[in-house]
Symmetry: C2
């Protein structure tokens, strides 16, 4: 903890890596591109899981579990999907090791255990799931199927960064089956809205929403809806996606159902997911030069209590003094932790919990007992104040609510201040260089999109249909149906 | 649902497979030996997870996540562990597919993407975790570390059965690090007791506990504690294990810490786990010829309500009649489901929920409204009774408690009635043939153990130190320190 955190303005990327490490969220592992999620980081992920899971269930989804492996012949069935993931997938080819005859105590792959058909470690589960749904669906009475899975997936990324892009990551993937197109599209939108409200209400991050362009959409989808957040360095981060898959997977796996009129039709599909990438969004949205800043609803504990004591007797007195307050926290459902270590100074503890982004720190010494006070520190504003102990629980309950709101408010202002409209390509280039979202007219062609990407590194982050004013494409001068969001992105 | 369930007495194995399928718990997948856990089965697993997770956290454990893959050089570091799993592990050798130049639309492994070092899909995570702990532990101040992980693991089993033995399965694996042997042994025992109380209190299954023999213990452990349950066909099922790993992994990965006196020592370790195999134990412990029987604490919903109606108006009346009862269920935290399908007869619904093992079924028709009654059916006893609606919630709350207790009581009696003491080998063989646990004196040698296994298929299930009376080995006639538990096992 003695190492000082790099300032965001000095090196944002270094700052990010240091926070992940110093706040004990995650670390690189011995496996190329895979991470170890440490207990403090995992506790945040668990809170994310719990809240999302509740929302999925409230909207009629059930959890299930499908195999980790996808046999090659299933993997390749939906061509676009296969093409999208073929270049980055881990392939299991053997199922046994044997002793190395040349080196004692070492193992080698047993060539005799070669699989007849290779297994792909799932990069996403549409293939294995639609091959399963095939047997579950005969009639419209079997629809809709609305299933979610919490799982690990593997995509062989060349450049990895903790949480943001790792070879293995944790996620949830929803896979639904419907008897008609409208219902499937409604589901796709419902989930995208669910993601938006989760990210705003729990992560305190403001996002833009819309659909992806043809080149940015999910491999195998008809339409990809997304939520996009803006990080403090002005780069966008895709935080969640919800795909309308049309009948593509039903056709690839021959999943047909009899309608109420007796005719046969292919089933309509959606899939959607958010991943441990959200952890990256959380860190980069709220963190400051002192470390992580956690919204109270996702913090492993909302309160850290640091007792200032010189002897075990002092500590006993302090704990007696806190007894009533702790009971009130329990009653209010506020998670707190007391750090009673005697080999770490209060100052060092302060630094540690500032780094870890705990929303509120309470500090109590013998003088507080005399004065019937407690020292309160709110992490988001880095502000300290002394309050009467008898008012503490009431003030803290309100403060936690305020912190949650305050972070979202800041995020909204940041998003607003960093979203600009470019009227021509020169303006566009300079705005993109500055960072943030840039709204511009685009002629809808892949050619223009790729030219912009090549020249500015900006991609179309999303197309929000509420911006439906016609205009002129900033590149080609052709007619444009609407403004779309561009940004450089993670 | 028209298919009739095979009777246990006819073919227990077939009965098991049919329940798994007909109660919609799981099914075989397109991937050899891997299963799809269906929503109803997964909902039970989620309840198991939730309760265990609570117990782990209450005893000071934290969750974290470690990589799916283990590089070969780490996998082979602890020799016994490596030897134990080398013959049944999935090996990733490549990270890319490419288009098959010979077949349009097909993919083949891209040989250019061959990995320099193969990756093993974790069969268990001691290797990857101890390689990580190495960097976390310097001083006794860093100990203990008490981490649990919920994860999927892969063991390439030749003969698989849903839940009982699958290539991929879900589990939790705890991995703790301690500064001294006693503390590590205490932890190992604490967890074994935690498993025992979970299985008894939540799954209503009575178990025996003790340690494994040398040949049956975990590869790499000094001592394996276990809980063993007895299925209705007289075969034992290992339901959970807790391993004292000594300093084996610390030595293999060179994990040393400085003690408070400044000297260096290797760290002491434990690991422990239960898996989706528990689902198999649950099915086989309580199921009967009508299907699954679930203990209320783990049933996805405790009550199924079947309204008997001829018109939508009837249904409205019935729902009005139930309004107050439903509110009381909500208040009492009792999960219920109402099956309002109009294309399935009440009789078929009855069969369906009997198959699914829902603890209590309520049936309401117009006549019940007149009489102010409700029809109640308890699944464990297959008994029906009519009760006044105003007493229903109170009676049901108590009944759920009784069912949970009743199942455990039956399980205890079954275990007791099927545990015998053999005084000689002939008696032993005939008892083993009959099924159940057989307590017998054993001379402690591997030779005798293997002879018994070869001749009777019985293995030592566990050694319970409370049976410490000396005697004579039933095979060799040599001195025996105590009676040990034998059985044929899953």
């Amino acid at each position: 903890m003695s190492k000082k955190l790099t300032k965001r303005s000095e090196d944002y990327s270094k700052w990010y890596n240091e926070i992940v490490s110093m706040a004990e969220l995650a670390e690189v592992s011995a496996v190329r591109g895979c991470m170890v999620i440490k207990p403090y980081g995992y506790a945040i992920w668990e809170k994310i899981q719990k809240e999302l899971d509740k929302k999925f269930k409230q909207t009629g989804h059930e959890n299930a579990y499908f195999p980790l492996f996808v046999p090659k012949r299933l993997f390749e069935a939906e061509e676009k999907n296969a093409e999208g993931f073929a270049k980055e997938c881990a392939v299991v080819t053997h199922y046994r090791l044997k002793n190395d005859p040349k080196k004692n105590g070492k193992l080698i792959v047993d060539e005799e255990s070669k699989l007849e058909e290779e297994l792909i470690v799932r990069p996403t589960s549409e293939a294995i799931i639609w091959n399963t749904y095939k047997n579950w669906i005969q009639s419209y009475r079997d629809l809709p199927i609305k299933i979610n899975q919490w799982a690990n997936v593997v995509r062989w990324e060349m450049r990895t960064r903790l949480f943001l892009r790792t070879t293995e990551f944790l996620w949830q993937e929803g896979h639904t089956a419907h008897s008609n197109e409208d219902e499937a599209i409604e589901e796709t939108k419902l989930i995208n809205n669910l993601y938006k409200s989760f990210v705003e209400d729990f992560m305190s991050i403001s996002v833009i929403t819309g659909t992806k362009s043809e080149s940015e959409k999910f491999a195998g989808a008809e339409e990809t809806y997304c939520i996009e957040a803006l990080m403090q360095d002005g780069k966008a981060l895709q935080a969640g996606t919800s795909h309308f898959l049309g009948q593509n997977f039903a056709k690839a796996f021959d999943v047909r159902f009899s309608k109420d009129d007796g005719s046969l039709d292919y089933v309509w599909a959606t899939s959607w997911g958010v991943s441990t990438r959200l952890m990256g969004a959380l860190i980069m949205s709220h963190g400051d030069d002192q470390g992580l800043v956690l919204p109270p609803k996702l913090s492993p504990y909302q309160i850290i209590i640091v007792p200032v004591f010189k002897s075990p007797d002092d500590l006993v007195l302090i704990n007696q003094y806190l007894e009533n307050l702790k009971q009130q926290f329990n009653k209010l459902g506020i998670d707190y932790k007391i750090d009673e270590r005697d080999n770490v100074s209060p100052g060092k503890k302060f630094n540690e919990y500032e780094l870890k982004g705990v929303p509120i720190r309470l500090c109590v010494g013998l003088r507080d007992i005399e004065k019937k006070t407690i020292e309160l520190f709110r992490r988001d504003e880095m502000k300290k104040l002394i309050i009467p102990i008898h008012e503490a629980s009431m003030q803290i309950e309100k403060l936690l609510f305020d912190i949650q709101e305050n972070l979202l408010k800041k995020s909204k202002i940041f998003l607003k201040n960093n979203t600009k409209i470019a009227n021509n390509y020169d303006e566009f280039k300079s705005m993109i260089e500055d960072g943030g979202f840039v709204l511009a007219h685009w002629d809808g062609t892949d050619h223009t999109e790729q030219k912009i990407k090549k020249e500015t590194k900006a991609t179309i982050r999303c197309i929000d249909d509420t911006f439906s004013d016609e205009g002129i494409c900033i590149i080609s001068g052709k007619k444009s149906k609407q403004l779309v969001y561009f940004a450089k992105a993670y």
